[in-house]
Amino acid sequence: MKAAAFDMVRPAALADAESLLAQPNSSALAGGQSLGPMLNLRLARPALLVPIAHLAVLREVSETASSVTIGACVTHATIADGGVPDIGLDVLARVAEGIAYRAVRTRGTIGGSLCHADPAADWVTVLTALGADALTSGGRAVPMREFIRGAFRTALTPGELLCAVRIPKLSPSVRWGYVKACRKPGEFAHAMAAVLVDLDVTRAVIGAIGGAPIVLEGAAVTHAPDLPGLDAIDAQMQRIILGRAMAQAGLQSADLV
């Protein structure tokens, strides 16, 4: 299928993008790796498409003592290739290199993935587990847990863009686990879990469940999670994947199976 007709206006600056995206039925286009197929399948039918990947402000990367901030239009490939500072354990690069296929990583962006908010997307689960914040054009810093509202739903308001994500650096004593189950490398995951044990934080995030990820904190991490809406097989897969992610992070998972 081919996309239905749409207008496309290329903004010169972020402010232009904001005003264009305040128009009804407009849509930002970053790497286009999800939106492109959706346009062709006519599942997305925006009247106005606003490309933003060329805006330099959205591709900036910065670092402080406690965090790394990555522009929304930085590609997965850039992250996989070590083009952003390491938050610790090379976590971001290792996650990025497992996203889809190289061709998708070359154009797909971290911000585009978060705004698309596919429950099976790596960054949705990983950045929730890492306690990242979404920095928006409205000047908001929204914790990832609140930014992802559900399947394909985010906290962005009309005209508001995701500008960057701010990811806390990990301490030297961090333990981390990230595991996903896919039919083959690069396919959408049917089960995924990320586990972070760092200083006073113990957090497990279960993704690819059809909605916003499930976040378990503290003592709750070591108990079999309630997985509403999953049948026995899908629930087992999620528990096994969680158990394996916990094992990577050095946590016991005796009662998961």
Binding site: M1, K2, A3, A4, A5, P37, L41, R42, A181, R183, K184, P185, G186, E187, F188, H190, A191, A232, I233, Q236, M237, I240, I241, V257
Partner: protein, 778 residues
């Protein structure tokens, strides 16, 4: 002839790869004709419904056409098989739709996107009917009827009947199993497509189509459009994979042909992935109930089977809805001997797209069934699976062998093939590893051995009475005035390297350099009639035809050459690019120059046919060549996640004399990749209303580079006694073995856990479901 390194048996690089690998090929979507417009189809969103009304917006009149506008005949496949029911397949649905994706109207616009806009503006009022989605439900009395006037949903029922009573009463081993294979979507890299234009000068409809069978498409188009076949020319450009998916007459071809004539400008339709996955023909969906009887030593006594094939809504042109099921009945015994055999088959009609023969037609399914059955017998007999097979395979000293269904196995050593693959896979080492495994990852080894009938001809197909029965295969061999050679063949190369292998055969006979030999195919105006490329027939049939034509051409070249050398024709030999006597030689180039440019130098007695020969060929016996292969897979099953990983794969293949071993390996590897898709990944499920559920390649999983192991391939080369050089057809074999070998390996791994998988594909969900069920005491 001296060995030049380019003839039969040499892995010469493929001539066509230069343009393919540089992106310089011309595929259907590369063709641009002046004034060409794009087509999009309004397709049924429902599996089964009556069409009450079709609304075309006023501003779209003249750009949207429905069945009411078309004066074409439906596509129809007749068959001589007794009891066969005909299903007229309208090119645009008239009063009823019978599967999701069936074309209802066609829209014409300057671009595909605009044509899709038009299609979206057309509305259709339906009265939805209950859909019949499952093939076993379809056979039950009272099921909704796909074709009401039939009275049931069975295209054809076949029976092979032996008296099994005595064996039933006494067999020490009885194995009963039900098996199921999934509906798949054949997925060549390039989908289908058609460009149609009316040639005013020739008063001829020119149809470019991505097809395996240009001549058959011409016949089918002529029948539907009511045109003389002389008014039709079908050209297949470079074709990016076929596998059976392009061995069919398309409704879209008929519609495009009609429109090109009606509108006076060229039109084209390029299939997209969504149409390929959800609307167009599927394959491979079988269900089996099998009872096998064996002696205590594992020797097979009898096989009793009932098989249903989900044939979909229509009988596709030209192979019909019944090829698959009738094939099941005739090949289920595989390469094995047995005393008695009974098999009933049904080709069931359902509200799903028509089924088409896919690489290995029915064989991947029957191989899965017989090979899993043999493993079940082995477990009951307490024997290694290969030992049971060795007790049942046709032995080499009984070749040629007529099996229980009268298949004539031409040559080979099946037990040796199996022994070699067993040695390659090192079963004792795997058994030792299994003995130490207690964790969630379990190793298993599985075998499959099968034979593949290729190049079967008139005697096999005459009984079918379908629109294409292969006879003599013809080839034209003609010299050009500068000494080059043109080979014109009616088959179609759609990726398998025939432009190279056929040139190698001509080189073998005449010794002309490969780069001076051009293979012309894919054009009904330039090539002799042929049923086309299917059934692993080209190496044997087109290869034999090319050899025959080149030999006759060599005779004519020799006689002219002898005259030029002032020798008696019996005193010269043609080969290595020259005509040579004991003392002198003249280049074939010079012979060509003489015939075309210096006729004054020709002898008075010269053959006026000159240096252009059309020759027809059939093998010495047309019951087919039987290549065969043994596959062995080692897998690791993650019993917590249900994932299957192939960690080793070995293949021993006997394709007779290999024309180009590198191309053969390519065929084996590519087929194996597709077989892995059948085994582990590919499945098009439908919901209870007949809606296809895997509408994109994100859901319909195809194996890729990371899923296909680096299989180790070993060759035996037992010549066929019937073909021109001892070659056998083997284009499909790779796809046949993997489902059986992998399923047996998975079952070998899961046996200690009380699990046996009998349904394809072996997905993580299926494995886990079986493991969870096994944990619950029955």
């Amino acid at each position: 002839m001296a060995d030049t390194g380019s003839g039969i048996g040499h892995s010469v690089p493929r001539k066509e790869d230069d343009r393919y690998l540089r992106g310089r090929g011309e595929f259907i979507a590369d063709i641009r004709l002046p004034g060409m417009q794009d087509l999009a189809f309004v397709r049924s969103p429902l599996a089964h419904a009556r069409i009450r009304d079709i609304h075309v917006p006023d501003n779209a009149v003249g750009r949207v056409f429905t069945a009411a506008d078309l004066d074409v005949r439906p596509m129809q496949v007749v068959s001589a098989l007794p009891g066969f029911k005909i299903s007229d397949q309208p090119v645009l649905a008239q009063d009823k739709v019978r599967h999701v994706g069936e074309p209802i109207a066609v829209c014409v616009a300057p671009t595909r996107a605009e044509a899709e806009d038009l299609a979206a503006a057309v509305t259709v009022d339906f009265d939805e009917l209950p859909a019949v989605v499952d093939m076993l439900e379809a056979r039950r009395p009272g099921a909704p009827l796909v074709h009401e006037h039939w009275g049931d949903n069975v295209f054809l029922e076949t029976v092979v009947e032996d008296d099994l009573a005595a064996i039933r009463a006494s067999a020490p081993i009885v194995v009963r199993r039900s098996f199921r294979t999934a509906r798949q979507c054949m997925s060549p890299l390039e989908g289908r497509g058609v460009v149609a234009a009316w040639d005013r000068r020739l008063e001829q409809l020119l149809v470019y189509s991505s097809t395996q069978l240009p001549h058959i498409v011409r016949s089918g188009l002529a029948e539907c459009l009511g045109l003389d076949q002389g008014r039709l020319r079908v050209v297949a450009p470079d074709v990016g994979g076929g596998f059976g998916y392009k061995g069919i007459l398309l409704a879209e071809e008929v519609v495009a042909g009609w429109l090109a004539r009606r509108l006076g400008h060229p039109v084209r339709w390029i299939e997209d992935r969504r149409e390929q996955l959800t609307g167009n023909a599927n394959c491979r969906e079988h269900q089996y109930d099998v009872t096998a009887y064996a002696a205590a030593d594992g020797r097979l006594l009898a096989l009793d089977a009932e098989a249903t094939v989900d044939a979909g809504a229509y009988s596709a042109y030209p192979f019909s809805a019944c090829l698959e099921a009738a094939q099941v009945a005739s090949i289920l015994p595989g390469p094995y001997m047995m005393d008695a055999y009974r098999c009933r088959t049904w080709s069931a009609a359902t509200n799903k797209p028509p089924i088409l023969p896919y690489r290995g037609v029915a064989r991947s399914g029957v191989c899965f069934v017989i090979e899993l059955t043999l493993d079940a017998i082995a477990r009951q007999a307490g024997l290694e699976p290969h030992e049971v097979r060795l007790r049942n395979l046709v032995p080499a000293d009984r070749m040629p062998f007529d099996n229980i269904t009268k298949k004539h196995f031409d040559s080979g050593d099946y037990p040796e093939c199996l022994r070699r693959v067993v040695a390659a896979i090192d079963i004792p080492a795997i058994r030792a590893r299994q003995a130490t495994e207690t964790g969630p990852i379990r190793t298993g080894v599985g075998l499959a051995i099968f034979c593949e009938q290729g190049a079967h001809g008139t005697s096999v197909y005459a009984g079918w009475g379908i629109p294409m029965i292969p006879g003599f295969e013809q080839a034209v061999a003609r010299m050009t005035p500068d000494g080059g050679l043109e080979l014109r063949v009616g088959i179609q190369s759609h990726g398998q390297g025939l432009e190279t292998t056929l040139a190698q055969i001509a080189h073998e006979v005449l010794g002309l350099p490969l780069d001076k030999i051009m293979v012309v195919h894919g054009d009904t105006a330039l090539t002799p009639y042929s049923t086309g490329t299917w059934g692993s027939r080209c190496a044997v049939m087109a290869g034999g035809a090319v050899a025959t034509a080149c030999r006759e051409l060599a005779g004519r070249i020799g006689r002219i050459g002898a005259h030029l050398l002032q020798e008696h024709p019996d005193a010269v030999r043609v080969g290595n690019g020259v005509v040579a006597s004991v003392t002198a030689s003249v280049a074939i180039t010079e012979v060509a120059r003489t015939w075309y440019r210096r006729p004054q130098d020709l002898p008075a007695s010269v053959d006026p046919g000159g240096l252009e020969v059309t020759a027809g060929y059939k093998p010495l016996r047309d019951s087919g060549t039987f290549s065969y292969a043994a596959h062995a897979a080692v897998v690791q099953v993650d019993t917590e996640l249900g994932e299957v990983r192939i960690i080793d794969y070995a293949i021993v293949e006997d394709g007779g004399v290999l024309l180009n071993p590198m191309i053969v390996d390519g065929q084996v590897i590519g087929g194996t990749a597709q077989g892995i898709g059948t085994a582990l990944y590919e499945e098009m499920p439908f919901d209870a209303n007949g809606q296809p559920l895997n509408g994109t390649l994100a859901e319909y999983i195809l194996p890729g580079a990371t899923e296909v192991p680096d299989a180790r391939i070993d060759h035996m080369e037992t010549p066929s006694p019937y073909s021109a050089f001892g070659q056998k057809g083997l284009g499909e074999g790779g796809a046949i073995g993997p489902p059986a070998a992998i399923a047996n390996a998975v079952n070998d791994a899961l046996h200690p856990l009380g699990v046996e998988i009998t349904e394809l594909p072996i997905t993580p969900h299926r494995v886990l479901r079986a493991l969870l069920a096994a944990r619950v005491p029955a």
